[in-house]
Structures are given as C-alpha cells and as structure tokens.
Amino acid sequence: MERATYDIVVVGGGGAGLRAAIAAAEADPSLTIALVSKVYPMRSHTVSAEGGTAAVLRDYDSFELHALDTIKGSDFLADQDAVEFFVQRCPEEIYQLEHWGCPWSRDPDGRVSQRAFGGMSVKRTVFAADKVGFHILHTLFQTSMKYPQIHRFDEYFVTTLLVDGNACAGVIALDLRGGQMIAIGAKATILATGGCGRVYEFTTNGFIKTGDGMALAYRAGVPLKDMEMVQFHPTCLPGTGILITEAARGEGGYLINKDGERYMQRYLPGKMELGPRDILSRSMIMEMKAGRAFKGLYGEYLGLDLRHLGEATIDKKLPMVRELTEKYMGLDPINEPIPVRPGQHYMMGGVSTNIRGETAVPGLYAVGETACVSINGANRLGSNSLSECLVFGTATGRAAVEFVKKKPAFPGAATIRDALKKEEARVFDGLFGRERGKETVAGVRVEMQQLMERDVGIFRETTALSDACTKLANLRERFSQVALTDKDRVFNTELTAVLELDFMLDVATAIAHSALQRKESRGAHSRTDFPDRDDANFLKHSLAFRTDGAPRIDYAPVTITKWQPVERKY
C-alpha cells in the first residue's frame, strides 16, 4: 500500500500526540485518524518523565497564582493569554487522566496528592510516585485502544510533509519494516514529535529525540520560535545524563558542594533548591568555576543529598530515583549524596503555534515539546510540560477536527503521487544510494553534539556562538559526504540515523543563530557578554526561518495581558 488517506494524521505517539488523537476521536467519532510514530507509542520519551504534572486543584491555589508563577518562571517571555488559557484547563485534564485510570498518588482521604516543585509558589504538582510520565503515557496508550478509528502506523518514520499549494496535505513516511515509502494524505496534520535534546552531547533525552517535527515544519516554511531557549536540568547523573527528578528537591532534598554546604544560599536564598531550573543550572556551573565542586570520573559534579529524608520517604515518594542511582551510579541515596550536574533536558522553543496549535501553514498543527505556543517563554517550570501536552493535546485535537469539518476535499491523487516520487528520489537515490563517502553518520553527529555542548550551552558568548554557526554550516557540508554502509531496505537504522542527523543539523542551526542574535540574557539563555535582561530591545520572540544559507531571524511580540514584566526575583 503506497497511499492512504485519513482525516487527521498525528505524527508522534507520545503524551501530546496520543492526547490529541483521543481528543479528535471523541470530538467526532466519524473521522479517521492515523497515528504515525517512528517507535511504538509506549517507547515515546514521555515515558521517562518522573516528577509530576501541575494543576490548580485546591482552595489554597488559584489560576492567577499558577499563571503568575509560570509567567515569572518564563522571565516574562511567555504569551500571557496562552498561559491563562493553559492554567484554566489543567485541572480537567488531571481528572480526565484520572478517570482513564492514571494512578495518581493519593492523600489518606483518597483525593489526588500534590507536591512542591521548582518555581511553584504552592504545592500544585500532581504525581504518581516518581514515574508520572510512564503512567500518563501508558494510560493514554492503553485508553487509545478503545477508539477503533485511531489507526496506528507503528515504526513509520515521517521524512517530509506533503504540501499541496500552500497547505499541508499530510505526510510521507518510510515504513521501517517493509522498507518502502508511503504517502499518508490528510486534511489536517498534527506534529507531536517531542524535542531535540540529542543535538547536545549530554542530555536527559532518549535516542529518539531528534527534533523531527521541528525540522519538518521548518522545511515547510514555518518559523521555529525561541529556539535559543534550551532548558538545562540541574540534576542529571554524570556520564549517562539520566534524569534525577526535581521531585527529589520537592520532597526536601538539598544541593551541596564539596564542602558540604547548601550552596544555593549564595544564589537564591529565598527559594534555595526549589528555584527555577535555569538559575539552578547556572549556579552549579558557577560553583564548578569557583572550585567548590566534586571531581569525578566524568568531570565535575555537585551533590543531591536525600539522606535526611529517610528510607521510608524515599521508597514511597522517590523509588525510581533510588533504583536509578543504585544501578547507574552504584550508590544508595539513603547513605550518600547523589552526584549530579546540569544537562540538556527540554526545548522551550519549537514550531511557532497559537493557542489552537495552528501554524502559519493551513492544515499543519504542532503540540507538546515540538511546539512553542508559548507558555514556557525563556524558562519552563517543572511539571508544566506534561500539563502542556495534555491541555494543548486536547485543544489541538479539537481544533484539527473543526478544521477538517470545514475542509471539503482530500489532497488530489496526482499531487500525492508526485510528492511521493519526489521524496523517494530524495531519500533512496539521494541519501540511501550515495556511493562511497568519506564521512560517517556517527562521526558528524558526535561533532555536532560536542560543539553544541561547548558553544551553545548554559553560558554563551558571541565568539563561541558565531563559531558554532560557522561550524554547523561546515558540518552541513560534511553531511553531504555521508554514505550508507547498510544498503538493506528492511529496518535500516543507519538510514534513519542519517535522516535524523539531517533534521538535527537544521534544528541545531536554528538554535545557534537564534542564540547569537538575542543579545541579552533572559531565562535559560545566558550571555556572558550581555548579562542583563533587555526588555526594551528583546521583549519579543525570536523566529527562525529556513533559507538556503543561514536562517533568517525575525521577531514577534510577546502578548502581555495582566502581568507587566518586572525584575525576576525569587
């Protein structure tokens, strides 16, 4: 089967993608929905999220407060209308997931528990021990089995969007198992492929997080918004980069340096370990520069001390933290502090969308980490991103259904046929068929990751950023010298690695250029040569547009409703 048509195609089967598919199926059960994912949905990286998902559920909390925390956390780069829309819909998503069986941890009275989290004024993070992402993803995946109109295309790798005129008409994907390409025509396409952490060397992200959806939209002319806003999570295990959840600090854990002192009193005495992630990550780097960090096999690190929490609390609230530390660090957190250092974790930036998930291209939507609405601005608060997947998953699914109802026709057969032929030529003749090259996919990939880590990391400055931009252009050249050794068509993961690297180079270039052009420090974007926030010139979103050369960086205003930007003090 070379061709198929569906009303809606969702690319990516993680939290946002599944939620959007289910929302669409519920909004109009007569529609057909394709869920196309390069991995089986339960492998999506949502599964690794640990800490929790935020919502206003109790009297001591309010939408105002959740919105204010989020906007302040974003260093005032978030669009406040989007934030207001978001916080109001979090509670019903929590209850919807709960109704679908998600095992939220409970208080003794049987109601859903909430814990403290970084940057949140009150306890509003709903959790499921420390495996919230696992439980949300499996609940959504298993619930999606109730809807026969959702057809899954498991292990299909989308290589390009189908464009008809100026609208998006679906996708073209590589069937990994069969080795041939298929065109999936659709009236609406929703991109939910997650972030792009694998452009960095040290990341919490799984292997599959290669920015596919971001690159697909970028190549279709949609700008990538705020790409320079890359979140570095303060507590990652050295070596592997495995995430140790913020919940460990939410439950009372301390961050200590080699002298055993809680060094956050030097940087954020008000919030200490529960400050926003960008401030915490920078503080760690500063401790390292001051010579107060531990030194180990994988470089310098700080300590996450959970000893005072006691075995009972750790086993009840943070069991996976204990398992991971024992397995991958060989120590028990009830006896020793956990070695941690900052690592790439999340992309605040992404495909530019509005509240309904719409992009500049009609028929093309984006949601979840792939998208930038923006509610996270220059820094995301922990436990907002799972809520974002749920709230905007629902909103985008419903928006796509409304759009589909108004659109009379599927894309034409001739358009689909031509686009398919063209893409087959690009992938099979171009990439796959290339004879003898002097570069390997792993070689180019590792260099990209190392240069991003070094030059576009937590602290940035002009020379390093310019250097990165030049080197990335150079790597793009060298990429054209990558030829495949694996010439099999069936399940060719060297080919998918090449396709992913192709996407990653585009995305990395957008990040580096956006970072170079933003001559201020805001949230996670920290310039040593422009250390202050500059609202006069930069209270705006970066928009990176793809060109044949360097991306064109333009700007768009930030929507401000109630909260005028003030100094971000905690």
Binding site: R43, G101, R106, M145, A442, V490, T493
Partner: protein, 248 residues
C-alpha cells in the same frame, strides 16, 4: 579505568541477504561502567553500521531494548558487560518472536493480545471532570505491582508456553488485565475474565514461573496469571451455581 577487550557475539539476520540467522563476532574495548547497549552502539557507530537493534531511553523505562544476553532475556541498557562477561558476550534477539532484522523482533502479536484484554477503565457512569474518583492509598497497592509493566517482552521471551503456543495471551497482557480488574475505579472485570477463561487465555499457563524471574520491573506476571485462574474459576462457578446473582 583500564581498557579491556570483550568479544560480542551477535546474532545477525538480514532478510534481503540471509536465508537464516548466523553469528558475527566483534572485539570491542570496554569499561566497568558500560552496559551491553553501549557495546552495541560502539559497534554500530565505529565498526559495523549495519548492526540493527532497538533502544531509546537507556534507563530501563521505555522497554525497547530487550534481547537475549548469554541466553537470558535482559534489557541491554540495564545489563553491565562486567556482569555477563565470560570472555564472550552472546547477544541474540528475544526468544519466541519472529526476527525482522538482527536483534529487532516482531511483537505486534502482543499488542493484539493486549488490546483483547481491554486494558483501560471500563465503567457505566463516568461522572464529570470536576473531581477525581476517590481512591485510597491502599486501593492503589492492590494493582500497583502489575501497573509497572513497561511492555519490554522479556516475559514472553522467557515463557516456554509462548514458544510452543502462539495463541497464549501471555504474561504481560494477563498482568495488565489484572491491573485493571483490581483497580477500584474499574467495572470491566467480567468482560476480561470472560476473555481470559479460555484456552488462549490463562489456562495455557502451566506456572513455569520464568516470566516473573526475568521481569525487570518486578511485575510478577506468574502470580497474576494464577490469580486470574482463581478469579476466572470463581466467576465461572458463580455463573453456574447462581446465575441470577452472577448476571448483575
């Protein structure tokens, strides 16, 4: 850390070239902190880009990387080379599954079996979205263990019954059926037990117990299967002896 060598003996199968699988050997340097997955990636990145295997999270939660290591089903991301190293580390695709390519197996059958046990909350009255269904911490304990399944398929690889009888619903699907049956919010026990009270359901299980031995998440599917046998029998007896009561 001193670099030492280890030989990885990996089962290859390239459907366009091979009529049957065969082993290929690679000698690689390794360190104490390397897991088998690191070894496979080293081979793919620097020696043989054709080597094909699944992986993603590298922290034992996504369930992608199951393989037979020295004959035992394991997650390659959670198996240290130093622990299985006997000069040679043999890596095979998971037992009991058709091989698509190298270490990549076809487990679509499992997803059909999973769908057949209705792995979602079944209820009449859903209430509204303004509040949660009340569920106490002890209620969660009742199904928590079975809810930990990451669908890694190690239990299917371990089960000799799965190997001989492809229609057997299998450990993980049964464990997830029990997870929902025991969830205090669910009302779908009847339908699930109906499906499981068949030859392709729980009755194929002969309590070998190997599934629970290999499970990396301590789900105890063997215990779940025996519990389901008991529940299915009780339901069957009730329907036989007290049909009026049972139909409620």
């Amino acid at each position: 850390m001193a670099d030492r060598d280890v030989v990885f003996r990996v089962k290859r199968y390239r459907p366009e070239k091979d009529s049957k699988p065969s082993y290929q050997r690679y000698r690689i340097p390794y360190r104490d902190d390397m897991v088998v997955l690191d070894g496979l990636n080293y081979i793919k990145d620097t020696m043989d880009p054709t080597l094909t295997f699944r992986w993603s999270c590298r922290m034992g939660i996504c369930g992608s990387c199951g393989a037979n290591v020295n004959g035992q089903p394991k997650l390659t991301c959670g198996t240290y080379i130093r622990d299985v190293h006997r000069g040679v580390v043999t890596v095979d695709p998971l037992t009991n599954f058709p091989i698509i390519k190298d270490l990549v197996v076809d487990f679509d059958d499992f997803l059909n079996k999973l769908a057949s046990v209705k792995p979602y909350i079944v209820r009449e009255d859903w209430g509204d979205l303004t509040k949660e269904y009340v569920q106490y911490p002890e209620d969660i304990e009742a199904y928590k263990q079975q809810s930990m399944c990451i669908n890694c398929m190690l239990c299917y690889a371990a089960c000799p019954v799965v190997g001989a009888n492809p229609h057997f619903v299998g450990p993980a699907a049964a464990a997830l059926a029990l997870r929902y049956i025991r969830d205090s919010r669910d009302e779908g026990a009847d339908a699930r037990l109906e499906r499981l009270n068949t030859k392709s359901g729980v009755w194929e299980c002969t309590f070998v117990g190997e599934c629970s031995v290999v499970c990396p998440k301590d789900v105890d599917p063997a215990g779940a299967l025996q519990t389901l046998k008991f529940l299915a029998t009780m339901r069957h007896m009730k329907r036989l002896l007290m049909p009026k009561m049972a139909s409620r």
